[in-house]
Symmetry: C2
Subunit: 441 residues, 2 copies
């Protein structure tokens, strides 16, 4: 029996202990976006801190300062740091875990871990993503990472972030890329107050008509971005990159199932994955300032703001993209002959992230997946953004690996969030195996 | 001294009495859209009823039934009917008055008539439009008009509705037309729930993108309606109609002042008035189901509904217009190749109204304006709708005249609603003179 086999046996033997530990964490309603739940966020941090100490981890809490929520100035949630083992000649890996948001409509109490025998799943807020500490901006975290880059984190050789999910429900994956995002607020304003459409309809330039026209100039219904120059930034598809898509174990029906409708643009799975992962997309999220309730109110809104975002891929710079969008919108607006005023605001963006799957960090994780699950993992990217990934990479200048634990149907951040019991237990084995492999790659 | 001169003298002598009467009415917060103010609506009705009785009018209250507001079933406001005089061989005129809504941001108490010496105006909710009984749908009123058409109203020869305003601030007007309205709710739905734009952006047909495209196909920024066939319905401009626009005493600057910005489409006043009164217009009021708050939420909305209305002109039928709009949108949607679902709902519409200024009802009013103000009135139309006008006309089948009392800058339904003292007193004289003229035309 190898050392790793012994470790696996121990994990199996401690299964109920691990489930109880997760249960204890889930039972605390640590919602970080309301002032009234802030004490619960501290309680979760304390629980994890105590667990770290009892495991022999050299743990400490850092307080990043204060913030104002619901009109109160309150302490930010703490950042937990911990060191375990420091044998010379061995690699140092930085592990990062994050967690949890709340939604309504649960079948069970989201603050009580419910194990369902039939599905073999555990339900509860944060079970899969992620009873820890990010997701609502992580105020203060970035400053600590920056400050400690050449102090606390000076010896880090690679980074492993436990986030994201398997692509489907059966095969583990390692994630090596994320899209970035650049949001825009496009505002057209005319008169100082909303107008009666009976009195002014037909004789004034209506800001809403202008805005609708501008928004329609950004993207085609099939998703093609119409802003000149945007697609020029996209990296060409190499045969090497193409090969990574070949063996991926997911089909169109899986994506349709998770979508809940048959409204996909492409009927080819590789094309679909590429448009989620390696091509930019532009979505129109909504309009502020216009009527948005049920029924109808026949008013001409005086000032309307379209909310738009572009998902960025590697090689697309936030500022460059902003400049292209502004230039395009301004030139379209000039053709309208409108007397209204257009302003375009680029909100805070994040660039895309792309790691190298050839790095020893990924090799170690690949071997670990093989040892625990008996298969070579899928290499995946994700269409969304995880800002902390970029921060870690740029501040510490080390390879980052996303090592998912949950399945594609876990419903993170959503109602009835779940984690399969087997994913939890095999996931614990995976992390152990990964650390073990890191020592030998 | 003529009989009319004596009447004018009496009105002047009773000025303070009339102002006190208006003051008594304004002091009751008769907001008909909340259950808690319903007793105040009854109180105003009682006050007017007592005034009618004390003037020798044969008055009665009709109770149209009940309605549910704020979860309570309550009595609808009463309809007051009254007869005064019934000399054989004389014409019978049906006079109709309506009133009042509430807004925030007043400089004075809206429920207290405030006379301002400097402006010579009286301020208070309902002073100009109109301490009476319409404006929020007038539930039950239409049924009573229909039921009583050949009973209580059997002898009516013409109708005078005291609504609308002077075009500007100096010259009285008679109104002979209103635009109608046909609202639409255009819904595009895709997946069963909102989507993460990182995960689904670029691979699904987004309902919002489809809707924006559909909305942009309806109207140009300069207000030109793009729905094929709509403009074919518009009556051609005759030289006779054109002549009515020649003498109208308003200029572009007046309209810009009331608009509060220089965002008019036309720099020609007649063109502007025609596009307000005799041409249709299409406004996009808003979108339901998409993000509409400050900031940004990078979600792909699953189901979005555009709220649109077309202001109708004479000869445009609600059903025909609905058919044209649906046909157009469905054909545009078909070109998108989207897999989402489009549904178009035509909400309750109202057709346009156009009276004949040559009718003796208008002649009598014209003579009355000359006697009181010494000028020939402007003949105006309005861009909005007043549903009761159509009901009266179609149920009783008699000529309807809109006889305005207030000025174009009164701010009806808005904050700081006012009525010039002189308009009130001269207006009372105008109604007396109109009745007197009716007897001789």
């Amino acid at each position: 029996m190898t050392c790793l086999d012994k470790f696996f046996e121990t994990v199996d033997a401690l299964e109920q202990h691990f489930i109880d530990r997760l249960s204890d964490l889930v039972s605390v309603p640590s919602v970080s976006c309301t002032a009234s739940n802030r004490q619960d966020v501290f309680k979760v941090a304390d629980l994890i801190y105590q667990m770290m100490i009892s495991l022999g981890i050299d743990a400490e809490k850092r307080c990043p300062g204060t913030q104002v929520i619901d009109g109160q100035e309150i302490d930010l949630p703490p950042v937990l740091l911990g060191k375990y083992g420091c044998g010379s000649g061995k690699k140092t890996v930085l592990l990062y875990g994050n967690p949890a948001s709340l939604s309504d409509g649960w079948r069970t109490d989201p603050w009580k871990l419910e194990y369902n025998e039939e599905t073999d799943c555990m339900y509860g807020r944060g079970v899969t993503d992620d009873k820890g500490m990010e997701e609502t901006g992580s105020l203060g975290l970035y400053e600590i990472i920056q400050e400690e880059a050449d102090k606390y984190f000076a010896d880090v050789d690679c980074i492993c972030i436990s986030d994201n999910y398997w692509l489907g429900t059966e095969k583990p994956c390692l994630s090596y890329g994320l899209r970035g995002i650049q949001p825009f607020t496009i505002t057209v304003s005319g008169p100082p107050a909303d107008l009666h459409s009976g009195i002014y309809g037909g004789i004034t330039y209506e800001p809403m008509t202008d805005l609708i026209y501008l928004l329609s100039s950004l993207v085609k219904p099939n998703g093609a971005i119409l802003v000149p120059g945007i697609m020029d930034k996209v990296d060409p598809l190499t045969s090497e990159e193409k090969a990574l898509y070949e063996g991926i174990s997911i089909c169109i029906e899986d994506i349709e199932r998770s979508l809940g409708s048959k409204t996909l643009v492409y009927d080819n799975i590789r094309c679909t994955l590429m448009h989620r992962w390696r091509y930019p997309s532009l979505s129109i999220h909504g309009i502020e300032g216009a009527y948005s309730s049920p029924g109808i109110k026949t008013v001409i809104p005086a000032k309307v703001s379209g909310k738009v975002s572009i998902r960025l891929v590697p090689n697309m710079d936030c500022n460059e993209v902003s400049t292209l969008v502004k230039k395009h919108l301004e030139s379209v607006f000039a053709t309208l002959g409108s007397k209204n005023v257009l302003t375009i605001q680029s909100d805070h963006g994040a660039k895309a992230w792309l790691s190298s799957v050839k790095h020893w960090n990924y090799q170690a994780a690949t071997e670990a997946v093989k040892k625990v699950f008996g298969v070579t993992p899928d290499f995946t990217r994700e269409g969304g953004s995880i800002p902390v990934v970029l921060t870690m990479e740029s501040c510490l200048n080390k390879n980052v690996l996303l090592l998912p634990m949950g399945r594609g149907d876990d419903g993170p951040h959503s109602i009835n969030e779940k984690l399969d019991r087997s994913n939890y237990i095999q996931g614990i084995k995976l992390f152990g195996a990964y650390l073990s492999e890191l020592a030998v790659v």
